[in-house]
Symmetry: C2
Subunit: 152 residues, 2 copies
DNA sequence: AATGGACAGTTACATTTGTGACCAACAGTG
DNA sequence: CACTGTTGGTCACAAATGTAACTGTCCATT
């Protein structure tokens, strides 16, 4: 019978690695701020772009709109972001970080970057190759074409 | 303000890639057999090792025991696997694939391997580097040390 | 302006997953 | 043997996520 070694199977390994890295990364923002991943993504996106609609956040951070909606509400209740209606299109709301939100963002970002750097440093010379390969994978897995269609 | 580009951030990219690849992979077994990922992992593990306890499956496939328990039940109801009590330890049950289960396994495995091969072929010469880098990442992310602690 | 389709965002409901309690069986100690 | 702690597995409940319907708004056509 043809066999498959699960532990060597690429989709499985990718999932496992992604989960483990995410889990470790949680130690960066978890203990201090108790964020979920969707909340972190919204925070990161708003920190990066200043002002944005929920729709645009979902597109950029590859999340389904309900996930964004819930994360936005949670962050709003925490007073980390504020909504204001858009003048151009009254269906959408423009979201921006409050000063509290920016403060949290400024606290987390250096830690996040340090975390990433540590990971890449540990990879040593292979780091560059990994990043190149991931870029290819992103294209192959048609992530570019989907633009937010992960939505999981 | 220090910024972070989410789309270039390693944990985010890994998650996104893993999700996209898993999603694509689903097209391999989804349309024909309608398996969930946990079910696929149990099937793959039993196909690989013939007979195993639920605990051992969880360890090998990095799943929490409740997830395994549910997947096992689903496969049992589908008559793809059978349980029998262990002689050595009457707490555990030895799980094996039925002939139906083996048949499904034999149908899916070649497709899975072809899927993986296609992915690696598309990566071209970078494929080997990716696999090497992933191996390193697996060690760095302490996956080896955890042995099933993903459990998500 | 009135009609109808598309779209941003929320909500309700269903499904999946995680957490902790639990049961029965083990294993060691006295 | 009891007694205690641990372990394989399940179950009930809670939390997270996906799906689909719905609201209000936009926009194109009439």
């Amino acid at each position: 019978m043809a066999k498959l070694q699960l532990e060597a199977f690429l989709p499985y390994r990718l999932n496992r690695i992604a989960a483990a890295v995410s889990q470790d990364f949680r130690s960066v923002y978890g203990p201090h701020h108790d964020l979920t991943i969707p909340e972190w993504r919204v925070l990161a996106t708003l920190g990066q772009f200043e002002a944005m609609s929920a729709k645009a956040i979902g597109r950029h951070s590859a999340m389904h709109k309900t996930k964004v909606s819930r994360a936005v509400r949670a962050l709003e209740e925490r007073r980390w972001l504020r909504r204001r209606p858009s003048d151009e299109d009254r269906r959408e709301e423009i979201l921006t970080l409050t000063s509290q939100g920016e403060k949290a963002y400024r606290q987390i970002v250096p830690k996040a970057l340090a975390f990433e750097r540590r990971l890449l440093d540990q990879l040593g010379p292979k780091a560059g190759l990994l990043l190149e390969a991931l870029e290819h994978l992103e294209i192959i897995a048609k992530i570019a074409a989907r633009d937010g269609s992960d939505q999981t």
